[in-house]
Amino acid sequence: MSVATRVDWEAVIGLEVHAQLLTRSKMFCSCRADYLGLPPNSNTCPTCLGLPGALPVINREAVRMTIRTALALNCEIPEFTKFDRKNYFYPDLPKGYQISQYDLPLSRNGWLEVEVEGRTVRPGITRVHLEEDAGSLHHAGEIQNSPFSLVDLNRAGVPLMEIVGEPDLRSPLEARAYLTTLRQVLLYIGVNDGNMEEGSLRCDANISLRPRGSEGLGVKVEVKNMNSFRSLQRALEFELRRQSELLDAGGEVAQETRGWSEAEQRTVSQRSKEEAQEYRYFPEPDLPPLRVSREQVEEIRSQLPELPPARRARFESQYQLAPQLAGLLTARPQDSQYFEQVVGHGVSPQLAANWQSQELQGLCNAANLGVEECRVGPAALAGLLRLLEEGKISSRSAKEVLAEAFESGRDPAQLVRSKGLGLIQDPEQLGQLVEQAMARQPQAVADFQAGKTQALRSLVGLVMGMTKGQADPVLVDRLLRERLGSPQA
């Protein structure tokens, strides 16, 4: 048995992302696009049920949102586009075909700037096109053992954008960063809710291996069924391992579709190349082709908001924030809006940034809320932080108040007043406490006077403890020094 040479394999990865659009109505009828939580098959009409004789009508808002997305992804928008039918049989596809776009999509040739481990990469976007979602099937337990399949067509016809990426990603981590950044852009431009668990954002990956340095492409495997960033990365890591082991052992990778099993943490073969579907695409005769005017494109472009990379850069320069902090505060548009509102109330950006990204975000994470959803609004946080800046409250008290305001929804500044949390700034009262502290810790006094200036800290700490943190530490420090005199050099 010969020992195969070790090759340094490089992954070549491209992602296909499906994103449901946040339109009010479905892609081709006036049923609601927001189908979650409705009784099965209640959000339907002849068109999305695929009843004989029913016809589709294009949702203009979905077209607009797709163009908006394409522009945010630096795509070209051709003047002429059309819909096509993708034909296949499945019970969740009521018409027996999906209305999609084949050779003349709404957009093509874009790119996305992605930060990964301090590097910036710029993977290409092949195209962004528009199609309709399918319904959903429900089974008793696992599909293989269920005695029935129940069809729910509430989701059928929901506008779905397909964002096809070029095979420009070189590692599972890059793939994950790409998806994270793409999701961030979709959230910024308000076209998708980014919810991977509920499937409003879905991702398939194509991955092949080649010896590093080679320009050729290996046999690609399509991986499906990854419903989180983590499972995307794990599935690709698994494939990278599986394929390199196969190749190292002198084997060949089969062109196939594999599904990620979250339970088993591995990919499982679903369909081989030979079983690949023949979709028989042809132009949708029920829908006339669309002309997208240049004026419309420019109008949509002019309405694009500041996108994440630009906003991050602006936060760094305008607010003097460290790159990591700027990144945290621009993760979601709601985060950056919240931040700018706090700053708008006159709080120093650095303080606002620290408190939002650490204290408030910590509380929000524990409660599974976004900052915009929590009960402490930007004005309330700003009020609290101003007290802190003015030295009227200790940082410890501020944390306490923030937590309570987060729970109760009460105004933090009011809480400070009602709880008497304002700092003790009375020199007489503090002077007595300072003297008590000096009496209780003569060693510290001696140490300080002998030149060990850090001994002062334990005295300040003692006073703070005696006041449960309410003493103004700056004032305590001054009063101590007045009484201790200068340390001997």
Binding site: L51, P52, G53, L55, V57, R85, F282, P288
Partner: protein, 491 residues
């Protein structure tokens, strides 16, 4: 003698003057169906309760506002069973839709209902409108009232027979390659295929979406204009409807053909038109010439490729349009299937007849990768050329005239064994569908006792022109006054 022999404008006058009620007309129509239709087989089902309720409502409207109501208010109509009718079973004459009761009505039907027209029932057709003889219905045979052992033509055979036999005043059909005009010619009635996009297809069970049009079958040209005016126009539910206003289709009806340039496509006379049909056509031409029309020969050079292109494009769309008939949401379905694939195969094999299966297979093949360019794409190019032919022709002439079909009605069973011969029946009608232009078949005479139509094709949105030429011929011939000899079949 039945009241239903009167043309719609005359009945409308009597309804407004309360000389007859809509309920009386509805009862007359239902009685005629009961008396005569068992020997003809035009109706798949009647809707007496709906009809009488609609008639009562029509009578109320006519009483309240006689002059303001539509001339179609209170008029008994029938609908081809490919048109969805809310609450009324709609099968497209197929087993796979047995029991399907649509929750909505086709736009054309809804518009007529809204005007107070009275729906008598649903009429037979070829399964999913695929056929030229009506013999592809999976439910029953429909006979030609002029000779009962002959076909009525298809696919809107039930509509044509219901009108020709005076069971109703008018019927809606659909025309994908001649399915309105051909049976109109075979049964001696007027049949109108509008410009593609003139009438909404919403609620029309699709055969070939890019070719299908809903249109009227009536005794007279004026009636066709009345019904067409009622159903035509943009529909927000059908993105392929044309936005241009319909205009007054009745205004120019009596203007005659003096000075009009009528073209006869040389190629249409080379398809093997039977001598008796040709003689009727020649006498129509002479008549129109005598009325002052300038007749010339023109050329539509791509005619010989049109049939082949049609039988690629139409089946391709069929293969996709009929995919929704999967037994999951409607139709008998497949119980106890062992797999999903088997469930589909069983439901579809049981549900579709042989001609439908043949076209699904043809279309599936034509769209398959590796064959798409050679078949579908090439057929679409031919289609473009056919449309260009017509566009060029209409620069030289105002309308194109030809026989509607190469033959008169043939015998039941005569062509069922030979699909290609059956397909050739549509050779003179289907180019208009490929080009999307408008066309009418108007009774032009009799060939050995069987009615024969003249086809008038107009440019896109040339509805008024087609109607005007057809009316000129009709005024001279008045063939509509001759009803088929129905005493033989009356029960």
């Amino acid at each position: 003698m039945t009241l239903l022999e009167e043309p719609i404008p005359e009945l409308a006058r009597r309804l407004r003057r309360r000389q007859v009620s809509a309920v009386e007309l509805a009862r007359e129509s239902l009685a005629q169906v009961e008396r005569i239709d068992p020997g003809l087989g035009a109706f798949l089902r009647t809707t007496p309760e709906l009809a009488l309720a609609a008639a009562e409502e029509a009578d109320r409207r006519l009483a309240a506002d006689p002059e303001g109501s539509s001339p179609l208010c209170g008029i008994p109509l029938a609908y081809k069973d490919v048109l969805c009718t809310e609450g009324v079973e709609t099968t497209a004459a197929s087993q796979i839709l047995r029991g399907f009761v649509p929750p909505y009505s086709a736009t054309a039907v809804a518009r007529l209902n809204a005007l107070g027209a009275v729906p008598i029932g649903k009429v037979n057709c070829d399964e999913f409108a695929m056929g030229s003889s009506n013999e592809n219905s999976s439910y029953q045979t429909t006979r030609n009232p002029w000779e009962l052992d002959r076909v009525p033509g298809g696919s809107s055979g039930g509509s044509a027979v219901a009108v020709a036999s005076r069971l109703v005043c008018a019927a809606l059909g659909s025309d994908t390659g001649g399915s309105i005009r051909l049976p109109a010619s075979f049964t001696g009635v007027v049949g109108y295929k509008p410009t593609y996009g003139r009438v909404s297809r919403y609620g029309l069970i699709a055969f070939a979406s890019s070719l299908d049009q809903v249109g009227p079958l009536t005794k007279t040209v004026e009636e066709a204009a009345l019904v067409l005016a009622a159903i035509a126009g943009p529909d927000p539910h059908d993105s392929t409807t044309l936005q241009e206003p319909v205009g007054d289709l009745l205004a120019g009806l009596e203007q005659g053909v003096r000075g009009l340039r009528l073209g006869i496509p040389r190629e249409y006379l080379e398809v093997g038109i039977e001598a008796p049909v040709e003689r009727v056509f020649e006498s129509s031409v002479e008549l129109l010439r005598g009325l002052g029309a300038e007749i010339s020969e023109i050329s539509l050079p791509t005619t010989e490729y049109a049939l082949a292109a049609y039988y690629v494009i139409a089946p391709a769309e069929v293969s996709s349009n009929l995919a929704r008939m999967d037994g999951v949401r409607f139709g008998p379905g497949a119980e106890r299937a062992q797999s999903l694939r088997q469930a589909y195969e069983t439901a579809r094999h049981r549900g579709f007849g042989p001609e439908v299966r043949r076209r699904i297979a043809l279309g599936t093949y034509a769209l398959s990768s590796g064959y798409y360019d050679a078949y579908y794409l090439r057929a679409q190019k031919v289609r473009t050329l056919v449309a260009q032919d017509f566009a060029q022709a209409f620069e030289k002439v105002d309308a194109v005239i030809s026989p509607t079909a190469p033959t008169a009605a043939f015998r039941l069973g005569e062509r069922t064994a030979d699909p290609l011969a059956m397909y050739a029946t549509d050779i003179l009608t289907l180019p208009a569908n490929l080009a999307g232009v408008s066309g009418i078949s108007v009774p032009a005479g009799f060939a050995e006792g069987l009615p024969v139509g003249l086809q008038v094709l107009g440019p896109s949105l040339g509805e008024a022109m087609c109607l005007r030429v057809a009316r000129a011929l009709e005024r001279e011939l008045e063939i509509w006054r001759q009803a088929p000899p129905l005493e033989r079949v009356a029960a």
